[in-house]
Point group: C2
Chain length 127, copies 2
Amino acid sequence: MDWLDAVRWDERGLVCAIAQDAHSGRVLMVAWMDREALALTAAQGVAHYWSRSRGRLWKKGESSGHLQTVQEIRLDCDGDVVLLQIEQMGGIACHTGRQSCLYRRLDAGRWVEVDPVLRDPSQIYRD
Amino acid sequence: MDWLDAVRWDERGLVCAIAQDAHSGRVLMVAWMDREALALTAAQGVAHYWSRSRGRLWKKGESSGHLQTVQEIRLDCDGDVVLLQIEQMGGIACHTGRQSCLYRRLDAGRWVEVDPVLRDPSQIYRD
């Protein structure tokens, strides 16, 4: 059986993908992959996702340069989550210019932004 | 605004929730939460999820005893992922008796089960 057939693709043909920093263990982002994105990620060792908002294949870092090189790919027990161990180029995974997309912490009933912006997004995405 | 309103609930009223071991940094499982599950998780400091297969609120560990005590709750940049830092009672998060649900690693085009079963599931779920 093709390894891609072991993935339980949802009704949109997507699987949830988590990118974890291979060195620090920090969860950097969560996105979605279609079959092509996962196949390319495995073949090239660089993370590809499916952008739901843009409706197209998305090579992470294609405009920012913040590519993710992939050291390991895991699948969960029921086949609907993929976990990537990655090295994050530029040290920034989030489009807000932060290291991780998980930068809001619940504190006494409100979300507090606890991580610094490392680089202004307008500097990341300029042409 | 109620902190729960900052979450971008999907069309099913659910949000993706990742449980990460607060000590080792290992991603243990990914599940879903509805509003009640997240509210209870925050209020009680014990992880609750929404079981899609059973169609009901699910206190993790309610039958196995493998409760998850929650040390931190984070929300991602677009509000559709919650990350829990947890302490896993019994050291087993997966219903297969393994520490983590992410126990299959892609290796030369096939998924290899690389983590040991720590306890026979029939021993975990007996009454």
